[in-house]
């Protein structure tokens, strides 16, 4: 355990990177995912198709493949970003597909009468969706979105394949230097638990507070 204590600074840096990598990616994923979900339920066929393609392509490709494709493949067509930026782009694109599915299931869970009432008042589709259905839908999907957040924190470890210095990479490098895998990886595991466990509790609290009582 001495190794972990001696390198506490490295672990804390790793945690900080993991945390803000996840926060930025999750924010972007929420925005993109909600937009894609809106496209998928819209009455406009091209948008529905584009939304479906976005979801199926991104959610059926392994995250590792997306990382290497974006970081090692895309520079060939002049799309090149620094490793950390690439990680945020890839993580938010991947997570957005899952957010879109979750939000869509939330939209489907809102009683039909809500949308019908909105239309009866003469609201247009964007108005019905934006001010009647979505606000209700989002409240019902707090728990699955929370799960996606935690999955994202864990997935950010895969940024190691493009050498982004977050928790998993910190542990990997420290192990290379010290050759003491057990304390090194145990330390990293605990660091992840420090992020994920409170997140789980917070999601539970948020869910109870926002729950729609019917």
């Amino acid at each position: 355990m001495r190794i972990v204590v001696d390198n506490l600074g490295l672990y804390l840096d790793g945690m900080r990177t993991t945390a803000w990598l996840s926060v930025l990616s999750f924010t972007a994923a929420l925005i993109i995912g909600t937009f894609v979900a809106a496209c998928r339920v819209s009455p406009v066929p091209p948008l529905r198709v584009a939304g479906a393609v976005h979801v199926e392509v991104l959610r059926n490709t392994p995250l590792t493949v997306l990382f290497v494709l974006f970081y090692f493949g895309f520079p060939r067509i002049g799309v090149a970003f620094a490793a950390t930026t690439s990680a945020i782009i890839v993580l938010s694109a991947y997570t957005s597909a899952f957010v879109a599915e979750v939000v869509r299931s939330g939209i489907n869970a809102v009683a039909r009468g809500q949308a019908e009432a909105g239309r009866a008042l003469g609201l247009t589709f964007p108005q019905v969706l934006g001010s009647v259905v979505l606000p209700q839908a989002m409240r019902t999907v707090v728990a699955p979105l929370g799960s996606l957040w935690i999955a994202l924190v864990k997935n950010s470890s895969i940024a190691s394949v493009i050498s982004v210095l977050q928790l998993a990479e910190v542990a990997d490098r420290l192990n290379n230097e010290t050759a003491r895998p057990i304390p090194v990886f145990l330390g990293a595991a605990v660091a992840y638990l420090i992020i994920t466990f409170p997140s789980g509790i917070a999601v539970g609290v948020l869910e109870r507070r926002l729950a729609v009582r019917r």
């Binding site: 959610r59 392994p62 799960s147 999955a151 895969i158």
Partner: protein, 290 residues
């Protein structure tokens, strides 16, 4: 494609608006495709030299073997994780306190830790303690350790979703605890969990690509080798991405099909999992009982 949820039969004005929207969105999407196409063309990425490897039998065989290695790891890990997951679920539902506690702690810890860490740990730490196995088994161990925790939760939800009457009836006719569990509860729970198991298989199949990190020669690793050899990383990774999508999309469809069939068979009591596909790990596994 299903009918729009938020709009019923459109009136004349809405139809005109949708048409205008369609034309605009269609034009925008077409423009994006044209820009992407021109970018690829300008950078010589349509050069046949870069694509020819994928009609070369040797390259295809090389990648095909990679796909087989991926499938092998996924299958073996799925079978072992299912067995261990079942044991964990029974453990969490056990009447014996310490057993319940240990199984619970295992599940809570292992599903909250990144899979990559578990795989690296197996690969880097175990050999130091005399565990002498091939890379394949280290990858499988990591996958099993993680997925058993996830599947354990799915199993538990499946068991809990059954009507209490099943257990009570079994006790009433004099069956013991284990006879009830194994003879009455588990067989029914398994049938309900089939769709969830298939979606978890998709996740697991995607996760085998982490074998790349510990240089297990699965599909992604082999694509990387192809990309380096022929100087075509973009094409190589896009090619394997297409393979993954084809396989996983098919499996997801099977899962949805099974779920629909189950719902019609058991009514609303079929086990449905929110956010299925991604990390059921910490997703609420809900039994939507009526």
């Amino acid at each position: 494609m299903t009918a729009p949820v938020l709009a019923d039969a459109l009136g004349p004005r809405a139809r005109r608006r949708v048409l205008a929207g369609s034309l605009f969105a269609g034009a925008l999407l077409a423009l994006a495709l044209v820009v992407a196409y021109r970018r690829l063309d300008q950078r010589q990425q349509f050069n046949p030299v870069l694509w020819r490897p994928f009609i070369d039998v040797r390259v295809l065989r090389f990648l095909g073997q990679g796909l087989l290695a991926t499938m092998k790891a996924a299958t073996v890990a799925m079978v072992l994780a299912t067995a261990l997951g079942g044991a964990l679920a029974l453990g969490r539902l056990a009447r014996n306190g310490p057993v319940r506690w240990i199984a619970g702690a295992y599940v809570e810890v292992f599903r909250a830790v990144p899979l990559l860490l578990l795989i690296l740990f197996a690969y880097l730490a175990l050999p130091k303690y005399g565990v002498d196995l091939s890379i394949f088994w280290f990858l499988v161990m990591g996958l099993v350790a993680y997925n058993a925790a996830v599947l354990g939760e799915i199993f538990r939800a499946g068991i809990l979703s059954l009507d209490r009457g099943q257990t009570e009836a079994a006790y009433a006719i004099g069956l013991s605890y284990w006879q009830t569990m194994l003879g009455v509860i588990v067989p029914q729970a398994i049938r309900r969990m089939v769709p969830a198991l298939v979606s978890q298989l998709v996740t697991l199949l995607k996760d085998t690509s982490l074998g790349y990190v510990i240089s297990y020669e699965e599909l992604l690793r082999r694509a990387n080798i192809t990309g380096v050899t022929y100087q075509n990383p973009l094409q190589a990774f896009a090619f394997v991405a297409a393979i993954y999508i084809a396989v996983n999309f098919t499996l997801s469809r099977v899962a949805v099909r099974l779920e629909v069939r189950q719902r019609s068979r058991y009514g609303a009591t079929a086990l449905s999992i929110t956010g299925a596909g991604e990390d059921l790990a910490l997703t609420d596994v809900k039994a939507t009982a009526t």
